[in-house]
Symmetry: C2
Amino acid sequence: MKISVFIATSLDGYIAKLDGSIDWLMDKRYELEGEGFGYQELYDACDLLVMGRNSFEKVAGFDEWPYPGKRVIVLSRTFKALPKNIDNVELFSGSIIELIEMLTMQNSKHIYIDGGQVIQAFLEEGVVTDMTITTIPILLGEGIKLFGALSKEKHIKLLSAKGYDNGFVQSKYEVFN
Amino acid sequence: MKISVFIATSLDGYIAKLDGSIDWLMDKRYELEGEGFGYQELYDACDLLVMGRNSFEKVAGFDEWPYPGKRVIVLSRTFKALPKNIDNVELFSGSIIELIEMLTMQNSKHIYIDGGQVIQAFLEEGVVTDMTITTIPILLGEGIKLFGALSKEKHIKLLSAKGYDNGFVQSKYEVFN
């Protein structure tokens, strides 16, 4: 089973400001006509999305649900039920290993995981298979970190690196577990 | 006056382990025959190096002084004198602005600054002109951070990005001040 990270980060390693906002990322200065940076291809290739409570609350607050029709699993031990009923969104309160066992039983082939805490937990658990990191040309100074503590250092393998005219640098890595 | 950063960082943003060690960076797996990643060109182009106390103590402990003949300024307010007398190395205990005033008077054209705290302080002061960041394909989990807090976010301009066969990704940025 492939477990993929596809995320944007400031050069200093933040995926959002401390209040969770990503307005700095949505800046018009970064728009490149006809360029989606590979997001849609990954999204389409994945059976489902896994995200944490914070990411869910963030996207559930958008005017439009960004993942119509896509299966989404929200990892949370604090939610008793999802605060907002959205088609195809389910709550999971077990461990990562239990989640992967369930998804393996269900014959899932490719999972897209999102959000700093989820990514950090999956990396620590040693189950991420690949990461596409898009580095935005900005220093935020503070925010919600992409990476966190690990019980041991982890070598990763660069698959490709590409700079874009809008200043993004996208690096793809294979993760050894 | 150009003030350049040229530094390697783990993908999770650390320039050294917590004890200051960079053994993970010196790993033989990263050796690429005949490839210096542009370090020598920058080093040769610079009139002088500026580093902090930690970086100085680190390199002063090497078997061989790595900057023979190069002017080096060590920024420190705690040192009364340099603990080790090395030719062409001087102590400066003033502010960054005072340092730049002095170097401007001395007609310095290009400064290479090194070390996390020095880089962070120069960025916060708004005097860095360009950064070459080489991202090493490893997650350390903890360590000495390349970037730190800033009083306001800072847009930077990507000049080039390149992936290497050893997994390094080198990105060059112009910094607006």
